[in-house]
Symmetry: C2
Subunit: 503 residues, 2 copies
């Protein structure tokens, strides 16, 4: 009944899975308890199993140390109790760096120490199966490595930005709209979501899973219909199913602080859910300690600091001064996960030009933080659907330029660089540096002395420095030169990234 | 010999002056010591006298308490020793609010408690007498209330921005260029400078007196030629002469950290002078504790915090993020005293458009700080002189708009307002607020949702608020309205200042 034969070797940070056949009572999710202890040398990790329909129960585990592991199960169901086995954890494959963790106060690294430069985007809830591959390819090609994705279905109450007839094939819970049984999961829904997480993992993309949102506008009665107990029951199931995927992040909510009342009015409500209980539950029960954040409404409140909060995920058009302020206030990595989307809709959240999108994203980086892009063009002129909800091919002007930005930043020791406000004009010219040996400037066309930039601290009268001037719009290396001492006015392109390294 | 008859009544914060005739040795500045003790009730203030040429010695004193004051002198010269007298200090006149002091951590107030909203400009060294009145009128008409002015003459080594033939009629010290006697003051030079300080006082304008600068490029050999002892001797004399003027501020240097070497190269040098000694001397010897600051080169270093530093005066195009960072670092008022000038010269410091000048100045204010404007247009097309060095009529596009800005800010409790970064996009939209009862927005035409602005926190579902929309470019009240609860998209002009007050 076990599948030990197939999985007796698992690479580090990959998924060991053990499936068993068990009882099928009225509600297996509620009535059957299954857990396992995984042991390696002196270490033990407790993991919950989960019911996957048709009498199948599964245990999933992500080993984080190489060598032999043993496990044994406990259950209130006889068939599932006292099962044991072992496997060997082998070195990770070439593209497997393990899960991402906060690192060096304001940054993230993979478990193997490789820096993780967050290059996020927002999109992709549930849309046509045939579009999915295209969407993933497009993300991957543009270097996006973190996707914020809603777990629960989204209803587009106003029908404004989506073909409203599009409903998910199944709902996450058994029952009818507004009469769902939150104690009985629809495994088909979870399997489908999980498949997407796996596809992202295979592409090296982090899945920032948004656990709660109220965007069903009481169409299905999910978010607001669930009690505190339902919330934790759901989280326990999700941790058991998804926790072993190394690319999972937990975003407790999208716009935790926003509510649309029956009359359609926006309202800021800080305790729509018991966020404390949810955050603490994950902190205490996720064996892998995946990153945890809470996302806010821009006219609301950035979620306050908590020990279970691993980083700040915020939504706001201010990617610079506010981002720096949040770094100072939380002492944690800060990701502006929604700074408004590139698009041409009339809505303020969906009407950034490529230029503004690029500027805001670069500014977040120049504040020593991270950000997530988004695209909101209609997929074609006859449709109400937009990329953000449907998927397909990214057509905006910012993605390839953001990929170029990421390449420049990845060629720098970004985790060791801090904003230098004395070298930043703060609106159209920004500077990051490591000590006095490496400077990175970003300049928009709006900078007054646009055609030239003074580089080189005047105090360094000795020594030469190497300068690389990148055209941040056309995405190429504009010029590379060596400059001998002193301050120099350097001609630069309208959109420029300039790397100055002392030798 | 005393002039007691004329000055037996002095209004509070005005100048009591007592002159005596005394000896005329080879160097009266060096050889004759004169001081006085001014007494009121249990308080005693020690003040130094000074030699003013032609055998005349003067004592000046600014009384800060109403009622009877007595004084007596001490001197090593018999004629000046043991003189005494008294006067009555009367209430201040209508426009006399006393000297300006740092107040409420980040602000300034007059001694009578009236808030002082710094609206600075930079200009005016020594230029034709007949132009002076015109310059002053122009400053006054545009609401400027603090002028940064060099004490020592400025030489324009490169002849680029001034008619180089223009030399001051006299030098501040006896002797020839590069062979000056720093122990012997040229009273004519001091008298002329002092007259300008008085004229400013009469117009209610603060004189931010710049004590040292190296811009004689070794033409006269003043700044770099003076020893530490010469510096303090000069400061003592200046304090004795000018200290009693209530509108005096001390700026230790312009660009303290910059030096131009013999070869014409810019160099950052932090200890060109013993700034510590100069700052501490003023702290300990200025009886009136006038504001003290040190101004920096934008590619250099903002002068580090010291207990004798009353506020931060810095030069930099970054008026927002850097200003906020400095507020946090120093916990003192911050004035961006040079954010580059409105002008059309090829130099980067003198080529701001009126739009950029206005934006930078507003940004400083929206950071909860202050700033100083400057103008650098050529006075006419045939001249090399610019307003900045010559004076005359301000012709730029920013002054009248800055005056309008000041009027708006003075109608707010600015000293109690702090930046609200959650309501600031940070590049083209900024917000200051007091609690949740008063919000002030500033918006440039660059703001994405330029035509409308969301105002009103969504949490405040009850209550109405009063909105005043100002056109910050055309300088008028665009619209006044009352809005009933909830968040609203308000149409606003391209350059807008919006005041939102809850009722």
């Amino acid at each position: 009944m076990g599948t030990m034969e197939k999985t007796d070797k698992v690479e580090r940070w990959d998924i060991f899975e053990f499936s068993l056949t068990g009882p099928q009572p009225a509600n297996p999710f509620k009535e059957v308890e299954l857990q396992a202890r995984f042991e390696h040398e002196k270490r033990t990790v407790a993991v919950k199993g989960f019911y996957d329909g048709d009498g199948v129960y599964r245990l999933r585990f992500m080993p984080d140390e190489e060598g032999p592991w043993r496990f044994s199960t406990r259950s209130n169901a006889k068939e599932l109790d006292g099962r044991s086995g072992s496997f060997t954890c082998t070195p990770p494959g070439q593209d497997n760096h393990g899960p991402v963790r906060p690192d060096k106060t304001f940054h993230f690294s993979y478990a193997d120490g490789t820096p993780f430069f967050v290059m996020g985007t927002n999109a992709w809830t549930y849309r046509p199966e045939e579009i999915r591959r295209k969407t993933l390819d497009s993300f991957s090609r543009h270097g996006f490595n973190k996707i914020r994705m809603l777990f629960f279905p989204k209803h587009y109450g106003d029908g404004e930005n989506v073909d409203i007839s599009y409903d998910p094939p199944v709902l996450p819970f058994r029952g009818e709209k507004n009469a769902l049984d939150f104690s009985y999961f629809n495994v088909e829904y979870f399997q489908s979501f999980e498949k997407r997480v796996r596809e992202l993992m295979e592409l090296g993309i982090e899945a920032d899973v948004i656990l709660f949102h109220f965007y069903d506008f009481q169409h299905w009665g999910i978010d607001m219909g669930m009690s505190r107990e339902d919330d934790l029951f759901f989280l326990a199931y999700l941790v058991a199913r998804l926790g072993a995927y190394r690319n999972v992040w937990w975003s407790l909510a999208n716009e935790f602080d926003l509510l649309v009342t029956d009359s359609g009015k926006l309202q800021v409500v800080l305790d729509r859910k018991d966020w404390e209980a949810a955050g603490r539950y994950l902190q205490e029960n996720d064996p892998y300690d995946h990153p945890r954040s809470v996302h806010n409404f821009p006219f609301g409140v950035v979620f306050p600091d908590r020990d279970w909060l691993t980083h700040v995920s915020y939504q706001h058009p201010n990617t610079y001064s506010l981002l720096m302020e949040l770094k100072g206030r939380y002492g944690k990595p800060v990701v502006n996960d929604e700074y408004q989307y590139e698009g041409n809709l009339p809505n303020d959240w969906a009407s950034c030009t490529p230029e503004l999108e690029l500027t805001r994203h670069w500014m977040a980086v120049m504040a020593g933080g991270y950000a997530s892009h988004g695209e909101a063009y209609r997929i074609d002129e006859n449709s109400k659907d937009i990329f953000w909800s449907y998927g397909g091919e990214l057509v905006g002007g910012s993605p390839r330029r953001l990929r170029f930005m990421k390449e420049i930043l990845e060629s720098c020791p970004f985790q060791e660089m801090e904003p230098d406000l004395m070298k930043s004009e703060g609106r159209d010219l920004f500077c990051l540096r490591r000590g006095s040996e490496l400077y990175l400037y970003f300049k928009t066309p709006g900078f007054k002395d646009g055609g030239r930039l003074f580089i080189g601290p005047p105090e360094a009268v000795e020594g030469s420095y190497q300068v690389e001037v990148y055209d941040a719009w056309n995405c190429w290396l504009h010029r590379r030169l060596v400059v001998h001492s002193g301050m120099n006015a350097l001609p630069v392109p309208p959109w420029a990234a300039i790397k100055v390294a002392w030798r």
